[in-house]
């Protein structure tokens, strides 16, 4: 069972530990706000906008698809919204399975689909102003691998 959650509070990155005796592998992904010091002025903050009525529903659909494809024993997908600073965690995915191949594949799938199918939008605040992040073609390609 993969738990999904959207929250304004900082993410809890405590490890997902085995419950019951079947867990042999846990894979986690955590996405962090990069400071982008090399780019003009660096990043001051990142703000995540989302579509509340749809977000958890979209995440639950993505999680259900992962559970249909791989034998997942436990998992979580937690996405932060609102304003955050460089170094803070934006999203955390954890998947427990009996074997590592399924845990790796499911975690990567969850991220690839979340990046392209969940209604979040990033705005970057820099010294020069705030701009919306453009979607990346590489994310579409990553998601298409699983079609």
């Amino acid at each position: 069972m993969i738990l999904v959650r959207v929250q304004a509070e900082p993410l809890d990155l405590a490890p997902l530990l085995p419950e019951g005796g079947d867990t042999g592998a846990v894979v986690t992904f955590t996405g962090f706000v990069r400071g982008d010091a090399n780019e003009l002025g660096g990043l001051v903050s990142l703000t995540l906008d989302h579509y509340p009525a749809m977000t958890e529903r979209a995440l639950a659909a993505i999680a259900a698809e992962a559970e249909r494809r791989w034998p997942i024993l436990a998992g979580r997908v937690v996405h932060r919204v609102g304003r955050m600073l460089p170094g803070e965690a934006i999203v955390h995915v954890a998947v427990a399975s009996s074997h590592r191949a399924a845990a790796f594949a499911a975690a990567e799938f969850l991220m690839d689909w979340l990046k392209t199918k969940a209604p979040f939008w990033k705005a970057e605040e820099r010294a020069g102003g705030t701009t919306w992040v453009e979607a990346r073609a590489s994310d579409d390609l990553a998601a298409a691998r699983w079609e």
Partner: protein, 84 residues
């Protein structure tokens, strides 16, 4: 009536979070709704100028150009998503 919701730069260009409107006469699909909305104000026109950069969800599910839009629908219009 239909409820329209705007996010990210679509919201900023249109200038409001959303609006509740009577379903315009002759509008039965997402594509027709976007065509009609683009004529509503300069902000709407700017936001919807490049349809390839706009995504739509009807009742919280991603929609295509030919997805039906009926009275009572919640139609969200936004840029390609960039979460994660």
């Amino acid at each position: 009536m239909i409820e329209l919701l705007y996010f990210a730069w679509v919201r900023e260009r249109i200038g409001v979070d959303g609006e509740v409107l009577p379903l315009p006469e002759g509008v039965a699909t997402v594509a027709a709704l976007l065509d009609w909305l683009a004529g509503r104000s300069e902000g709407h026109a700017t936001a919807l100028a490049d349809r390839g950069r706009v995504r739509v969800a009807v009742d919280q599910v991603f929609a295509q150009a030919d997805t039906p839009v009926t009275a009572g629908a919640e139609v969200a219009i936004f840029p390609p998503v960039t979460g994660g």
